[in-house]
């Protein structure tokens, strides 16, 4: 049955691959932070344990160890102990299984910094902000950049000579540096836009006009700092792609047939877009990374800020929860682009027929 539905085969193959990648990501997400020697409980103890006597400190430590799944417990929840009374440490592979089980339930543990707040709660408040900022920005930047690049390739002349070096310069600017420059110029010097935050200090998030208008106002600078650099780098790529496509046989033939110019442009765009989509998928990881740093610069209340404060405070569960979520988002985005390419490029589907 599968043989006759190349599209279905394609979707299934990609899904399987992405699932494997997801498993890999979860594994990396678990093991990498544990590379270092630092023990999260020790860090927590230094913060909390000052001033407690030995017995109380020990009890507290054991409580934390139990909470973070680092020691074995029996059916009643009592710590198992070795012969000299110390708690039995959970072997790493068992910790890993517990971790996976927890993740599947959506429980990413408890945050250190904001103890006893759950990581998933923190993420839930931060995620909408990040999504609202990054999703439209990256897509719009991609679209506008590609259109500009195509125009530059087709028109050549002054438009190209000005746009190209300018775009190249823009794509060289790191996202965050551009963000900083924008903040400095438009927020500090000229005071047109606010320098930080997602919304004005005194307001409480809610579905009212005051909040929305404040949010939009605070949205402007972060939006532009991501959008402009993104558009710049896309324009560069698209321009090269289109220059290449302009020399192809189908353009020559279409011209020879007397087909109208804007129809030919459409062919061009449609064909050049495909490698650009692939490029989008490949660079999504980097783009989201850059956008996160932009959030940090603007103290925008999204995942970026969450990660930043987590890093500064050694809040491992929060770091891990955020990174896992971001990885999943990148995977999902890549998957979507892959499927999209499958639909838009007949050659990909043709490649799936059992040749």
């Amino acid at each position: 049955m599968l043989k006759h539905h190349p599209t279905l085969r394609y979707i299934l193959t990609r899904s399987l691959w992405y699932f494997l990648t997801f498993l890999m990501a979860v594994t990396l997400n678990f093991f990498l932070p544990r590379l270092g020697a630092s023990n999260p409980v020790d860090i927590l103890m230094t913060k909390v344990g000052a001033g407690l006597d030995t017995k109380a400190a020990q009890e507290k430590e054991e409580a934390y160890l139990k909470e973070f799944g680092l020691v074995e417990v029996d059916g009643n929840g009592t710590l198992l102990r070795t012969s000299d009374g110390r708690p039995v440490r959970t072997p790493i592979w068992k910790q890993f299984c517990n971790y996976i089980a927890m993740c599947l339930k959506g429980d990413f543990g408890t945050s250190f910094l904001n103890y006893p707040k759950k990581v998933s709660d923190i993420i839930k408040t931060a995620l909408p902000w990040t999504f609202a900022l990054q999703f439209p920005t990256i897509i719009l930047g991609w679209l506008v950049g590609n259109v500009l690049g195509a125009l530059a390739a087709y028109k050549r002349g002054i438009f190209d000579k000005v746009l190209f070096p300018f775009s190249l310069l823009l794509s060289a600017v790191p996202f965050f540096a551009f963000g900083m420059l924008l903040v400095y110029q438009f927020a500090i010097r000229w005071e047109i836009f606010p320098a930080m935050g997602g919304y004005a200090g005194g307001l409480i998030p809610g579905f009212n006009l005051a909040f929305f208008s404040s949010a939009v106002y605070h949205y402007a600078l972060p939006f532009f700092s991501i959008f402009i650099v993104q558009a710049g780098s896309q324009a560069i790529g698209m321009r090269s792609m289109c220059i290449y496509e302009l020399g192809t046989d189908y353009v020559k033939y279409a011209k020879g047939l007397g087909i109208r110019e804007n129809k030919i442009l459409y062919y061009l765009f449609r064909n050049a877009m495909l490698p650009q989509l692939t490029g989008l998928a490949l660079s999504l990881g980097a783009m989201i990374g850059g956008a996160l740093i932009t959030e940090m610069i603007f103290s925008y209340p999204g995942l970026g800020m969450a990660i930043l404060t987590a890093i500064q405070g050694n809040d491992y569960p929060l770091i891990q929860g955020c990174t896992l979520l971001i990885t999943v988002c990148v995977l999902l985005a890549n998957f979507t682009v892959d499927i999209l390419i499958g639909f838009l490029d007949p050659r990909v589907r043709a490649g799936q027929r059992g040749k």
């Binding site: 270092g36 400095y184 980097a286 891990q320 990885t327 990148v330």
Partner: protein, 278 residues
């Protein structure tokens, strides 16, 4: 060699190479005429630029020019080292996959795609956050190199697999040259120009990655780099105080160096692939 001469005639190449050489001078030759001191406090915190201190001071009162030059050196070092590592790994993987084909190719491609899709930035965060104390410049470069090689692998593999179809490779195989010999003597020379272009871009990407990771506070411990300067300026509210000299020069230098590399790469592309020229 004729290609190299053509390159020298291209104005964009000269511009890019010139910019890069200028930054190299700033990093390595300038210190001979200017005392670089990143420790002594020479003034008040965040003093604006003056005749004696061209870029003012940082949040502790240290001379900004010294910090910039030192930071430039570190960033260049990390970028270069990361570039070498990434290009090395990527080229080897790419050549092997492109040449061997078959199941070796499939496995390497799968691994490459795995590394591509999992954001390297995230991996950087995860590794760096766990290694609190031991983060030297070289280690950071190593981590960056080991997570960003995927792009070179992909590009080189595409080139290599188109090369193996050529006749002189078949001839070498018939003559009994081993795999490694073929790789080294028959494929690599053709790829050199391409690998070099890839290398340029990897260095640029390494510099950007280092700046990114340092900016969020996971950079080298105890070293000054352009990224750590940006981080310091953020932590100490330089933006709010209007102390532009604390971050504009650093950000500007990163941009200039990366831009120079991009221009060099574009001009090389124009020479090696004439269709892109006007």
């Amino acid at each position: 060699m004729k290609i190299f001469l053509n390159l020298l005639k291209t104005p964009s190449f000269l511009f890019g190479a010139g910019c890069f050489l200028l930054t190299l001078c700033l990093a390595f030759i300038f210190p001979f005429v200017y005392p670089i001191d990143t420790v002594t406090r020479v003034g008040l915190p965040y003093m604006p630029p003056s005749a004696s201190h061209w870029l003012g001071t940082d949040h502790m009162g240290v001379d900004m020019v010294s910090l910039i030059v030192t930071g430039l050196r570190s960033s260049l070092y990390v970028g270069f080292l990361a570039g070498i590592i990434a290009t090395g790994i990527g080229t080897l993987m790419g050549i092997y996959a492109g040449f061997k084909g078959g199941w070796q190719d499939n496995i390497i491609t799968m691994v490459t795609n795995l590394f591509i899709v999992i954001p390297s930035f995230i991996v950087l965060i995860l590794i760096s956050s766990s290694l609190k104390e031991g983060r030297s410049l070289a280690l950071i470069a190593g981590i960056i190199g080991c997570t960003t090689w995927t792009w070179s692998a992909r590009s080189v593999r595409a080139q290599a697999s188109s090369l193996i179809a050529r006749d002189h490779i078949a001839l070498a195989r018939v003559n009994g040259t081993g795999t490694f010999g073929i790789l080294l003597f028959h494929i690599l020379p053709y790829l050199m120009s391409y690998v070099f272009m890839v290398f340029i871009l990897q260095i640029a990407s390494g510099i950007l990655s280092e700046a990114a990771i340092s900016m969020i506070g996971l950079g080298p411990y105890d070293s000054v780099s352009l990224g750590t300067l940006l981080n310091e300026s953020m932590k100490n509210e330089a933006l709010g105080d209007g102390a532009w000299w604390a971050f504009v020069p650093a950000a500007g230098l990163i941009t200039i160096v990366v831009f120079a590399f991009y221009v060099i790469n574009t001009s090389m592309e124009g020479v090696f692939n004439p269709r892109l020229r006007k």
